[in-house]
Subunit: 478 residues, 2 copies
């Protein structure tokens, strides 16, 4: 019965009007039904959207449980800081300014330890500096008489705020003290202006600083003790992961899409794996911010305080330069000029060898970065890659045997077995780009080796420094 | 005299000690002098660094005076908001909470109108929402008796803070409401907890909201009236500028470094211009944030409220895909295998034609984006590019005439005028990549045309909507 009604709803009765257009015949009871159906549609559409949104959120949470843990950590820290308000002794100590502690927790709590430490240290230092300066300015202003006081305070705010804002544009300041400059302006303005009204200026500055210290200490404790996420560790894993992706897409993609499909016309396999190099292309910004935050982190796990984080950026740049070439390869494969079969066959073995040997070299590099020591087999793999390259070069050289010297003889291909010059162009391009990728992989090998060397040097220095107190190192390595 | 002393300082007297190592002979008066010189060196080094830093800052200011203007705007807004404190009637109205207005100005004031509006609207909405919710939670808590009150408040803070923090990870929320979610947590915590102490809860919420509205209105006024910088306008100019850079580096670089040097071995000219494509490679993040902020901006200049900002991101992606290929070209040029002279000569004319025609097509596209209308000549230029491509294809085809079919005959080059196959590989690769660049430029043409079409459609809709009140449009177009 219901399905009959729905079927009826699906059919429209039309009549042709005199002027040639057609008009829909609506049953007289349609209006109320239409409104009802429209509303129902809207609600179900909205419900669908909400469900999609919740599903997206759920998937995100299950894919990366650390995000959920971070949220719980924020809730925990905020609930703990609320105790400052609930417990009378503390309340009497820091007064109504306890909300500064809450504010500090909300603003300063970031997903990684490095980012939180950066904000905490910036906040504390900037607050202290601005507090002292504001007290000084207030003293000068109070010496200049009641009439000039507002002008002195106003002018000092104008000048210092402008300078601090300008400093935030300077790259070296921005990367280290951007947040600090903002907090400096904030604290200076509030303390300097409050000075005009509130007599207990020192109390205000003292309260603000002590509440901020309560907030930041709490944040640091929670972020470092409850499932800490280290920026440095994240950068390290991202680099290893990106290297693996690069290797997978070079190998898998080349093997399945490009070599197989290109050289033997088979179907491509898992597409997602093959597109991995795109992650490398787009991870510059996150690498930079992680390296920036990692500088603030103390020793953790296998990472010392002055771990060569900048070297990771260099490795990232080398990886991107490889990825650019893989991008260019992409176009060769998809280009409409398909190469002649005989040429494909001629080059497929050596191309596959080059791609698989360079892919395993990258895999080995990833392993080397992961373990933070020089790989014993990398030299061997590079040699292997070079010999595969040599082979490819030779195959390219011998291509000319297959070539038909006359361009007008295109119709004779099948008869002579020779192919016209234009049909080898795509294959030659492909091979050249493959050769270029190998060259760039050698640069990648260089930057990874530099990283490993720097790590080993730093380790030695740390070991020397810590010889007297041998347990320290043991503690750090936990 | 002084120079003689310095010369003396520069020379060291060494004696060979019995065990074979050498020892430096220091004059007996050296210690004091050394300390003095070391201190002098330190101070001059520090002075040098400070001078360098100031020079860097000065250069930045003179290169982009808008940054200086922004700093002055921040100072201005902060000084104005200080008046809230200085003027008694206002002070009595909003009470000690006037500092919220200062805080709002400091936190919300961003260089561009879009970013400021985004933060202002997020701050006001989140504060209102959180304020109402907190009052509600406080009412429920007060009904549950003195013993349970802290638990109800604590639990609500824990749950809401966790959920709001989690929502900040969801991409769609992050791009629109990231700041709002933070302010929501902040306001909710402070108001809910203050409710436990302060009896005048409604007053607190009301004061906080009104001071925030004062702060945000002031920010919006200052940012929009004093030399406004619009995110949309910035994104538009960045796109045009990047297109020009792409065109310049394709043309200039190809002409001077690659074609001239490669085909005729002349010197490269201005290097900076040639590296312009690297800006295109690295501008993804800034494009995205600008497009994100531009959505919040009202109509300004030639941009309507719902200008198709997302299309700019597509154009950016197309430009990057061209830039990847230019990157790959780079390697062809620098590759060690230099091509044979005769081959270079054979292809130089058509390669130059392709590069210059594609470069002028990009230039024309930049002009089209700049003027926001379809270029009358772009079809012609694309045709020209295609005919140049055709010519290059033909030249490539006829390359086989120059080819020496025997690989063992490398020594006969000069005798026969024919070149071995390996010597044509770099040139063929270069030509193929050049062809690929042209293909990608056609995709770029498509995305620019789509942008222009969308803009024209939106303009028509706006014109239709505004016909009744014709002056509105005139006002908007000012």
């Amino acid at each position: 019965m219901a399905s009959g009604k729905e079927l009826c709803e699906g059919v429209e009765w039309r009549i042709r009007v005199v002027d040639g257009s057609s008009e829909v015949l609506v049953p007289p009871t349609g209006l109320a039904r239409k409104v009802w159906l429209r509303t129902k549609g809207l609600i179900s559409g909205l419900g669908m959207k909400v469900r999609m949104f919740l599903k997206q959120a759920w998937d995100m949470g299950t894919n990366d449980p650390r995000k959920v843990i971070h949220c719980i950590k924020v809730g925990l820290a905020l609930t703990i800081v609320s105790l400052v308000y609930f417990m009378r002794p503390l309340y009497d100590g820091v007064g109504g300014n306890a909300m500064w502690a809450i504010m500090t927790v909300v603003v300063v709590f970031e997903p990684t330890v490095g980012a939180t430490l950066y904000k905490c240290l910036n906040r504390v230092c900037a607050t202290c500096l601005a507090g002292f300066l504001a007290v000084g300015v207030h003293w000068i202003a109070s010496q200049s008489g009641d009439r000039f006081e507002p002008f002195v305070v106003g002018a000092s705010i104008f000048i210092l705020a402008s300078i601090a804002t300008f400093s935030r544009f300077i790259p070296s300041v921005k990367s280290m003290f951007d947040y600090g400059a903002m907090i400096f302006i904030l604290t200076f303005s509030i303390v300097a202006i409050s000075g005009y009204r509130v007599d207990k200026l020192f109390d205000l500055a003292h309260q603000r600083i002590s509440t901020i210290i309560i907030g930041t200490s709490l944040c640091i404790l929670v972020i470092m003790l409850v499932c800490p996420i280290w920026s440095g560790q994240e950068l390290h894993s991202l680099t290893v992961r990106n290297m693996d992706k690069l290797s997978d897409s070079l190998d898998g993609w080349f093997r399945s899409r490009c070599v197989r499909q290109y050289f033997t016309n088979s179907n491509g396999e898992d597409d997602q794996k093959l597109q991995g190099y795109k992650c490398v292309l787009s991870s510059k910004a996150s690498e930079e911010s992680m390296a920036n935050f990692a500088r603030w982190e103390p020793s953790h796990g296998r990472f010392n305080f002055r771990h060569p984080w900048k070297q990771y950026l260099k490795i990232g740049a080398s990886m991107r330069s490889c990825a650019y070439c893989i991008e260019a390869l992409n176009s060769c494969i998809n280009s409409e000029n398909q190469a002649a079969e005989s040429i494909k066959k001629h080059l497929s073995t050596s191309c596959l060898k080059v791609s698989s040997s360079s892919s395993s070299a990258i895999k080995e590099l990833a392993e080397s970065v992961k373990k933070m020591n020089k790989s014993p087999t990398i030299d061997l793999l590079v040699e292997e890659m070079n010999s595969a390259l040599e082979e490819l070069h030779n195959d390219l050289k011998s291509l000319s045997h297959l070539l038909n010297p006359s361009t007008t003889a295109e119709n004779q291909i099948s008869a002579t077995g020779l192919v016209p010059f234009t049909e080898i162009i795509p294959v030659v391009t492909l091979a050249s780009i493959l050769i270029e990728i190998s060259v760039r992989i050698e640069a990648l090998v260089g930057s990874v080796e530099e990283l490993v060397k720097e790590i080993e040097m730093k380790d030695k220095i740390v070991a020397k420094e810590e010889k007297p107190e041998g347990t320290m190192k043991a503690l750090q390595r936990v």
